[in-house]
């Protein structure tokens, strides 16, 4: 889009459950400035035309994951999408598909987080005492970190869930975000929770209905590849069924270095505050 535009059109899907029986579209014109993001335009709409317009946002820098919405047909982060990159002088904004609508552009994400929580997205270890009151770090090599590092970049914005054709049709399927995060912890060498998560993953909420459309990975604003995580998870679970799954012991506590010499100009770390 040429930057000589002075105004831009916003076509926004509105829904107020207290007033409307169904969502409807409304259109607004707002002044355009070069470098403007879709989120900034929404603030302009709120300021100039419709103070009741509702959406979620917080960090304005693609970190918190709260501003996911359907922008010109694709799930994206409003704060991370410049209007110039849409190649159109009309910005069409709707709430993320595959979720109920709370109001206007606010999707109901609670079911996604319930599935996420059910798959135990945290390090599970038998040595609870060490986990809760660590004496030192758990050992993990840089190579082992590589196995799951990209999946830690997920910000739980829900864009992948909105793009997933399987999640759209199968109410029992957990969806790419919870499954990707379950795989993230399953492949973390510090974790010993594969057997616990498996209880859920071997059934309907597991990865089985994914037919690798790959849309989740295409729309992820952080470049995470949940489709890959799901295929790797399928492989792990098939290996497990065939008795070939390598049951790893969670990584041990790394010993304190004994041969290192503290430099005089580096002070001791302050005592723990938590």
């Amino acid at each position: 889009m040429s930057t000589k535009f002075e105004n831009i059109s916003y076509r926004i899907r509105r829904f107020d459950p207290e007033r409307d029986t169904a969502p409807h579209w409304e259109e607004y014109r707002v002044p355009y400035t070069p470098g403007m993001t879709v989120l900034e335009g929404l603030w302009k709409v709120k300021e100039l035309h419709s103070p009741t317009l509702a959406w979620r946002s917080s960090c304005r820098m693609g970190v918190c994951g709260s501003c996911g919405m359907l922008i010109n047909g694709k799930p994206r982060l409003a704060c991370n999408t410049q209007i110039a990159e849409l190649s159109s002088d009309t910005v069409v904004v709707a709430p993320l598909p595959n979720f109920d609508i709370v109001r206007d552009l606010v999707p109901e994400l609670a079911p996604m987080f319930a599935s996420h929580q059910a798959l135990m997205p945290y390090v599970i270890r038998e040595d609870v005492e060490e986990r809760e009151h660590p004496t030192n770090e758990f050992f993990q090599s840089a190579h082992e970190l590589e196995h799951y590092l990209q999946f830690t970049y997920c910000i739980k914005c829900g864009c992948c869930m909105a793009a997933c054709p399987t999640f759209a049709t199968d109410a029992l399927y957990s969806g790419p975000m919870p499954l990707g995060q379950a795989h993230r912890y399953n492949s973390d060498t510090r974790d010993g929770g594969f057997a616990a998560r498996k209880q859920m993953l071997v059934g309907e909420p597991g990865p089985w209905r994914c037919h690798y459309a790959g849309e989740c990975s295409r729309v992820c604003p952080k470049g995470v590849d949940p489709a890959k995580a799901i295929q790797l998870m399928k492989r792990e679970l098939v290996f497990d069924y065939l008795g070939l799954h390598k049951t790893k012991c969670p990584a041990n506590v790394a010993g304190k270095p004994t041969d290192g010499k503290r430099r005089d100009n580096i002070p001791e770390a302050p005592p723990h505050t938590v």
Binding site: T169, W208, R209, L237, V238, Y241
Partner: protein, 150 residues
């Protein structure tokens, strides 16, 4: 609860079986002219059906006229227990792989739980029925081939 894990694992195993047995089928039936494997089409020249006269017969040697679907070859393969077993294996693997895939597609239409159970039961019955019928046909084909030989 581990039903889906188990079904998926068998889906993959069936896929691998199909790959191998379809490979053998391709070698036997369609790649005769490229790779001649005597043990797959064992009939020799004297078994050739002399009534079948291709248009280009005068340009070819007798050996080239032996086709995988010539009765002599069909019979020579049919009498072997290994071939019969491979037909039954391929049938079982293809039915399971195909019907499980169909079940997945139908489940994407998000049917109610009772309909899911009904569909699973129907597909299981269909698969078992076709398998029994196909296995019976393979066994009978072997019996006929043997009787013919005798």
């Amino acid at each position: 609860m581990m039903r889906d894990q188990k079904l998926w694992a068998w889906h993959l195993i069936a896929g691998a079986v199909i790959l191998v047995l379809l490979g053998v089928h391709m070698l036997t039936m369609h790649m005769e002219g490229v790779i001649r494997i005597q043990s797959l089409n064992p009939a020799s020249v004297e078994h050739v059906d002399k009534d079948r006269v291709p248009q280009t017969r005068d340009q070819k040697s007798d050996e080239e006229d032996i086709h995988p679907i010539d009765w002599a070859n069909v019979r020579a393969r049919g009498v072997r227990t290994l071939y019969m077993a491979s037909y039954i294996f391929l049938l079982g693997a293809a039915l399971f792989h195909g019907l499980y895939g169909l079940r997945n597609i139908l489940f994407e239409l998000n049917p109610a739980v009772w309909l899911r159970k009904t569909l699973s039961a129907l597909l299981l019955l269909l698969g078992l029925g076709l398998f029994v019928y196909g296995a019976w046909a393979a066994v009978m084909a072997r019996a006929i081939a043997r009787a013919w030989k005798a």
